[in-house]
């Protein structure tokens, strides 16, 4: 009886606290990045910080709702949720509003809604549901294909809407599938292909092919585990194919602005004039955000004191580049704390996921951790110039109602599932 009365409050408070710490700190930085003038009206709805504050308040209602719903609901209705979500994505082609070249928004009154943010949660639910089905065997090729299809549908839909950033997020599900028993060679092949692609882009396909050949010869002589000749030749041919394929992909399929981002990242561009031009256009953000972070030093310039933030030097600073505000105003102490908070949150979710008795909850938990992780990795990596520019928000931090609510839903469904694990003996 006692256990039963407390049931609704047996949530994992660590996750909840970490979540609110990030949301709260995020809002402070949005305030700093978006306010103008001297007086601040916190509920000024014409300003991002005012709107975000409303979004945060609404989040509380959303959380109560999410926790009030029976845990079984999510598992049972995951397919329905997935289908509705996919339809909302398809609907964008008819009713969508285009912002910054991506047709990702529904305009309802004065509000905009970005269904692709919610699609990630829906996909995570659907994948969890499908894998946890007793009839599914991830080691069977047929089921692998089916799982891939579930993941690829939303990925393709958002890609068609010109939202490359959100597409890449779906790669996160690899971690989920791998955890659930996806054969090892997927990992091996994946890692090889990524390495080969980068090397090939950097040094050209011919050099990469020669390198692969030398590597195989070296492997043949040095390793105890010998590969058969035809195996080696096959690997070599694949390597050559990948090298040239990447080049083709880079030159013929990628759009010029995407090429530029990669060429800047890999320092391929040597022409100083072109570099100058890049610095003035898309690399401008990157350059400015790196400078802002760097100028923060150890302790930062102080809340609302960042000169580059106040001067709005980093465009889109309250959305994708919010981390540069943290870097400038809170310095190493603040930005390192944010990194640590994210790592703690991720590890906590991962830890909880492993504790789940139900496979659905575990797979879903893994999905949550993977999706947040990929956002965290790409966003902060991009803002600090470690990876090419890809426009996705920093979870809980970046300005945006859809994003905030989508992550709230993503996390709190898991919090609910986790609170229910005690009942699943």
């Amino acid at each position: 009886m006692v256990r039963n009365t407390n049931r609704h409050f047996k949530f994992d408070w660590i996750t909840v606290i970490l979540f609110f710490l990030l949301v709260g700190f995020g809002w402070l930085n949005i305030l700093s990045a978006s306010h103008t003038g001297n007086t601040i009206n916190y509920f000024d709805l014409s300003q991002p910080f005012g709107k975000q504050l409303i979004f945060i308040f609404l989040t509380f209602g959303l959380i109560i709702l999410l926790l009030a719903i029976d845990a079984k609901f999510y598992e049972r209705f995951s397919s329905v949720i997935y289908i509705i979500s996919m339809l909302s994505l398809v609907g964008l082609f008819l009713f969508g509003k285009t912002v910054n070249g991506a047709t990702s928004w529904y305009a309802i009154g004065g509000m905009t809604l970005q269904p692709s943010e919610f699609a990630k949660t829906a996909t995570a639910l659907a994948v969890a549901k499908y894998i946890s089905d007793l009839n599914t065997n991830i080691n069977s090729f047929k089921d692998q294909i089916r799982t891939f299809v579930i993941i690829i549908i939303p990925a393709i839909l958002v890609l068609l809407q010109n939202d490359t950033g959100s597409t890449i997020v779906y790669a996160a599900f690899f971690f989920v599938l791998y955890r659930e028993g996806l054969p090892k060679y997927y990992l091996t092949i994946g890692v090889y292909i990524i390495l080969l692609s980068i090397i090939s882009l950097k040094f050209g396909p011919t050099k990469t092919s020669i390198l692969a050949l030398l590597f195989l010869i070296g492997f043949h002589f040095l390793s105890k585990k010998k590969l058969k000749i035809f195996q080696s030749i096959l690997i070599l041919l694949v390597a050559i194919a990948v090298s040239f394929g990447v080049k083709f992909f880079y030159q013929s399929i990628l759009q010029p602005h995407q090429q530029d981002r990669i060429s800047l990242w890999l320092r391929l561009e040597k022409d100083p004039q072109k570099l100058e031009q890049m610095k003035r256009t898309f690399a401008y953000n990157l350059n400015e955000s790196e400078k802002a972070i760097s100028s923060g030093g150890f302790a930062g310039k102080g809340f609302m004191e960042g000169t580059r933030t106040t001067g709005k030097f980093v465009p889109e600073q309250h959305t994708d580049y919010i981390f540069s505000t943290v870097g400038e105003e809170w310095g190493f102490l603040g930005s390192a704390s944010v990194v640590v908070l994210f790592v703690l949150l991720l590890i906590r979710i991962l830890h909880l996921a492993e504790l789940q008795k139900s496979q659905f909850s575990r797979v879903y938990g893994y999905g949550v951790a993977s999706i947040i992780f990929i956002h965290f990795f790409i966003n902060i990596g991009m803002v600090m110039g470690l990876i090419p520019t890809i426009g996705i928000p920093l979870p809980m931090f970046s300005y945006g109602g859809s994003g905030l609510w989508a992550f709230t839903i993503l996390i709190f469904i898991f919090v609910k599932l986790d609170s229910n694990r005690i009942n699943e003996w």
């Binding site: 790196e290 001067g311 709005k312 980093v314 870097g327 994210f342 790592v343 991720l346 590890i347 991962l350």
Partner: protein, 645 residues
């Protein structure tokens, strides 16, 4: 293992991010400085540059505002070009040309559109300026010379160059800085300290407002006015007398070391280095490698001092006790040493004591004296070091360590110097030319003037300096503390008596000025130039040193006139007139004045440039200036005289 993949990734990415942050914010981040933050615009507020007054309180240098129309091309909106052009007094073609030039330089940064507007144009334009977006007026401060004299004294200001900025980060691109003269040597006093305003800007480079409400802003500190020791009237008179001649004049007040006049000829009007034509005119002056108007001959001209240096030898001889003032030396119309002979103007068999030796400038007397000094202890090597030490105590052979922007060491040789030329044996006869101020001895006019000041003071001098007073500051000790020579006071009297006789009966007898006891010494110095890689002798330099009055000296002076032939021919006249003017305030020797205004040495200076063979000294003829030039000089003289009354 499978459950650890994501875990490992999370930890790895966390560590990667932390190290990147460490690199960006701690390792790579220079200590944050407002000055280096390009999100903050630094606007400088330039203080008033200090004024320069002469010793009598006459304003020499002030400031004048100058207005430049600036343009920021990308902020320019369509405008009424016709009206704008007529306001600026340019035509439409020029407008388009200037606009494109500015745009090519940078569309975002301001560039000068039209520089140096007149005050009237500025007044009209200012009213209408708001109609022209992207254009604005920038006020700058330029120097305003209240005089046409003293270019070499006053110097000029110009924009700083890269090495100035690297040497002193106070200066920013486009700042003005003293380049020559007192503008350069008193730069820090005159310039003041500029104020700074920090203004927060946004990424479009627009001002948003003062950074932190101006918490870190500073107000400018005005430059201090200075008074220099120059007597503008004497300076103007000196410059007038030296027109159409080349050389340097330095007049010092012996009791203080203050420089009364510092003339370098030829000179130029300091006003030509102000404003729109500055760089054109500067280039012209700079490129004149023959007359060298930028070469300050009174400070930088290193000449053999000639006969005035005999005074030095006389003093050293008395101090070292190698002869008495009454001891006589017989002159055989020259001095024979070994199988060589040094000529002299004296009649054969003349017996000179020290006073007549100076009066007649007897070479034989001083050759004997010099040898006695060097051979006193039987070793010329020791002797020359003693001799050198005495001469150096008069400030010769080294920088005077004063407040003038340029200078030269000159040369007083010692044994170490001669080691290279005579490594083994060294006899007094080797350097006998030093006896008469030629050979290896070299001085600048200011050093020689200082030597005369030390003689006038009977044994001490004050470092010659140009600063008389700085607003609210006392002069540095080095200018107010007497420096003593190594010659005892009594030894000066016979030498001064000799100098007095130079005027009474000697080489400068024709230059006497009524009621003033002037002590002087003429000098005539051989000099050479390399013409077509041949060492060619030119007409001798005319040199004169003097101080007056004999008791309680008011002025010590050194005059060098290049190729003036002999001491009293040009230099002596200049010196006598300046002395009279300084002491009496008016001129009685109008004949000398007239003579100097009328005579030019330009024919002499043209000789080496002519490319033809030429004759010197005895074969030179006087060149009378053209009538027009003569009237110009007369008018100038009247102006100077009138300014006095």
């Amino acid at each position: 293992m499978r459950q650890f993949l994501l875990f490992i990734f999370i930890i790895a990415v966390g560590i990667l991010f932390l190290s990147r942050l460490f690199y960006l914010q701690i390792y790579d981040s220079n200590n944050y400085s407002l000055f280096e933050d390009n999100a903050i615009r630094k606007v400088y507020d330039y203080p008033k540059r200090g004024f320069v007054y002469d010793r009598n309180g006459n304003l020499l240098v002030a400031n004048q505002p100058s207005y430049d129309v600036m343009v920021i091309p990308r902020e320019v909106e369509p405008l009424d070009t016709l009206e704008f052009c007529s306001l600026l007094k340019i035509d439409k073609e020029q407008f388009i040309k200037k606009y494109h030039k500015a745009k090519r330089y940078s569309p975002r940064l301001p560039s000068v559109f039209v520089s140096h507007l007149s005050k009237e144009d500025y007044a009209v334009l200012q009213e209408k300026m708001r109609k022209f977006d992207g254009f604005y007026i920038q006020k700058r401060s330029l120097r305003d010379y209240e005089t046409t004299i003293g270019a070499n004294v006053l110097g000029d200001i110009g924009e700083v160059n890269n090495s100035d900025i690297n040497r002193d980060p106070y200066y920013k691109m486009g700042d003005l800085k003293g380049k020559q003269g007192v503008e350069a040597s008193y730069e820090n006093t005159l310039r003041g300290v500029k104020g700074i305003k920090f203004i927060q800007k946004d990424r479009f480079n627009r001002n948003i407002g003062p950074y932190k409400d101006g918490k870190y802003d500073t107000i400018p500190e005005q430059g201090k006015d200075i008074t220099i020791t120059i007597d503008a009237e004497l300076q103007a008179y000196g410059e007038l007398l030296m027109q159409n001649k080349r050389g340097g004049v330095i007049a010092i007040e012996p009791a203080t070391g203050e420089i009364l006049a510092m003339v370098a000829a030829p000179t130029y009007d300091p006003n030509i280095l102000v404003g729109r034509d500055r760089s054109k005119n500067f280039t012209k002056l700079y490129n004149d490698s023959i007359a060298k108007p930028l070469f300050n001959r009174s400070l930088q001209g290193v000449y053999e001092p000639g006969s005035p240096f005999k005074l030095m030898n006389a003093l050293i001889a008395l101090q070292e006790g190698v002869l008495t003032p009454d001891e006589t030396v017989t002159c055989y119309a020259g001095y024979k040493y070994g199988n060589r002979f040094m000529k002299c103007h004296c009649n054969r068999g003349t017996r000179n004591n020290m006073i007549t030796g100076i009066q007649r400038s007897c070479n034989a007397y001083f050759a004997t004296t010099y040898r006695k000094i060097l051979d006193k202890n039987g070793s010329s090597s020791d002797g020359i070091d003693i001799w050198s030490k005495h001469a150096q105590s008069f400030g010769l052979g080294n920088f005077l360590n004063n407040d003038l922007f340029v200078g030269q060491k000159g040369r007083i040789p010692d044994r170490a110097y001669y080691k290279r030329i005579y490594p083994k044996t060294f006899y007094s006869t080797y350097t006998i030319s030093n006896a008469i101020g030629q050979g290896e001895v070299a001085t600048t006019p200011i050093q020689l003037a200082n030597m005369i000041a030390a003689i006038a003071n009977r044994g001490h001098y004050f470092t010659p300096h140009i600063i008389k007073n700085i607003e609210g500051q006392s002069l540095p000790k080095q200018f107010t503390k007497a420096k003593y020579t190594t010659i005892d006071k009594p030894h000066f009297e016979p030498v001064i008596e000799g100098m007095l006789q130079v005027y009474r009966k000697g080489t400068a007898a024709s230059l006497q000025v009524k009621d003033i006891d002037i002590c002087g010494k003429t000098g005539t110095v051989e000099n050479f130039a390399i013409i077509d890689s041949l060492r060619t002798q030119l007409t001798d330099h005319s040199i004169f040193v003097a101080f007056a009055p004999k008791d309680d000296p008011k002025i010590a002076i050194a005059v060098f006139v290049e190729n003036g032939y002999w001491g009293s021919r040009f230099a002596g006249k200049v010196a006598s007139l300046l002395i009279e003017r300084h002491i009496k305030g008016y001129i009685t020797r109008k004949d000398l004045e007239e003579w100097l205004l009328k005579h030019s040495l330009e024919n002499e200076y043209a000789k080496p440039q002519s490319g033809k063979p030429f004759k010197i000294n005895g074969y030179t003829s006087f060149q009378i200036v053209e009538e027009q030039e003569y009237y110009r000089l007369k008018k100038e003289l009247n102006r100077i005289n009138k300014a006095k009354n």
